[in-house]
Symmetry: C2
């Protein structure tokens, strides 16, 4: 479900490193060459290119990209070139330093990564920031947001398919009871959402839908001014149908006056190698226009080219 297009015959990583070095040289940078290489290599291949670059030139490819490129193009190339674990660590760290809107990035990272990938992000956080990811999240949040985000980001969910139907019924009823009482920050809601496996939660949400007349997401649509409630609803959407959540983030980012490049770049860089094909289908279905065309209409230059390459537009 990755949208990445990798050529049938991938050059030796030393050759890629050499081409990138050339792209930086002389008068002006060769952005097309950078896109041609980096946007068509998977995570393991990009890692080899970084290692080869360091071995050949004694320099850090990321630092050179950082100094050669600018603006939105710089950000998407840098985020993309990082390993998925380093990228998640970077995004969460950045989020802890921004305003409350960035609670969404923390929630999104916690709820849409596999258990192993989320743990790898926590390891990468130790290595890069000399702190734990959860201590920064806990320190920079408070109240209900902390109560929800810390257990989400520290979860190591079971990933098997086993489902306990008795438990699913019981916990669907607990969720319904608390939501009916508008007790959205109740510790039982948070416990269920933050600890159960995605397969188990799916059974719980199905039971909720079947026996209480509405989807759980619908029952959480009241009180649209409540930021905590919106975050809780988005967390459930991420756990249940991540492609729908990401479609919505992309739709709002593109629709916005001037486009929200922060969201657009993040979603493309983090999902290209995971489930971008599903997100593209969902986007097309929901907006009657392909994501390629929507991005092409709203962005320009090298930034546009890089995004389109990552979502699989054109050939490798």
């Amino acid at each position: 479900m990755s949208s990445l297009k990798v050529p049938a015959s991938v050059p030796d990583p030393y050759e890629d490193a050499e081409q990138l070095k050339k792209a930086f040289k002389g008068w002006g940078t060769n952005e097309d060459l950078i896109i041609q290489i980096l946007a068509h290599r998977n995570a393991a291949q990009r890692k080899l290119i970084r290692d080869s670059y360091a071995a050949a030139y004694g320099e850090d490819l990321l630092k050179d990209l950082d100094s050669e490129l600018t603006s939105d193009f710089q950000r998407v190339v840098l985020l993309w070139t990082l390993s998925p674990a380093e990228r998640d660590a970077y995004l969460v760290n950045e989020a802890t330093k921004r305003l409350t809107a960035s609670n969404w990035v923390i929630m999104e990272t916690a709820c849409t990564r596999s258990s192993d990938d989320l743990f790898k992000a926590r390891q990468a956080y130790h290595a890069r920031y000399k702190k734990s990811l959860e201590e920064d999240v806990a320190y920079h949040t408070s109240g209900d947001f902390r109560k929800l985000l810390v257990p989400l980001i520290t979860a190591f969910r079971y990933e098997g398919d086993e489902v306990n139907m008795t438990l699913a019924r019981k916990e669907a009823n607990i969720l319904h009871e608390k939501i009916s009482d508008k007790a959205y920050n109740d510790e039982e809601i948070i416990r269920i959402i933050s600890t159960r496996s995605k397969a188990q939660l799916s059974a719980t949400f199905n039971h909720y839908n079947d026996h209480h007349g509405h989807e759980i997401i619908k029952d959480l649509e009241a009180d649209d001014g409540d930021e905590y409630l919106k975050l809780l609803r988005a967390a459930i959407e991420c756990l249940k149908t991540p492609e729908k959540y990401f479609e919505k983030v992309l739709r709002l980012a593109i629709k916005k006056l001037g486009t929200d490049e922060w969201d657009l770049t993040r979603v493309v860089a983090t999902r290209a190698e995971v489930d971008m094909e599903r997100i593209k289908e969902e986007y097309h279905r929901r907006n009657s226009v392909t994501l390629d065309r929507a991005i092409a209409a709203d962005t320009s230059g090298d930034y546009e080219k890089m995004l389109l390459a990552l979502i699989g537009h054109g050939d490798a």
Copy 2:
């Protein structure tokens, strides 16, 4: 600081497996031979013996030990033979099924293991119980106990030596303020205790002691009937000076009328390969009798022999 005595020349694991198979055969079990082998092999060696046993006889060594042995001796041999990660997973799972006193086992596991070892226990929990460790802990606890235990057991603390002294001062003051207000379940206390690195916490507790006139542990000694407060205090002791915590558990287990084998077995099986030498020093210092002698006086038979072998009494 391990108390384990491994012979200079360790037999081939197939040979050990064969000897164990012999120990089970015939009329009666050869307990001495079991002790002679298993109590003198480290975790990696025991793993090889289990693998060799399975390969040679198509049977699970743990199941055979379970059916051949009985009572306290059985429990200590089984716990010891498990890998540290499986053992921690087993102990926490058992604790979630018992009464509230077992909250201590969950806290102890969370606060005295290294970050990697705690994570490995969570992986072992997935493999063995087809659930996450934290979903069972969260489900089987409630109120303040849940608020404290879930973040402790899901922590992945940074393990470097770096200390932020400004933060240590700030958080020592927060702890002092909340403790003075008797707000022991305050979310800031839980955040600090459950997310900061042990090095950082050590600086925080030192500042507390230097600027507020008492050790933090002393300030938590009021209200001895409050089970939550006792657990919080023990968590701080585990994070600060685990050898003192374990000395106390052993002292109380041995002093008790009839001895508390549940605690005694657990502490010996989980610490022998980690810091038992430090615990023995602490025990001797505090009780004016060596741990060897105290255990010998209070236990008997194969159980006694196994415990003494694990704490390094006699030769390998």
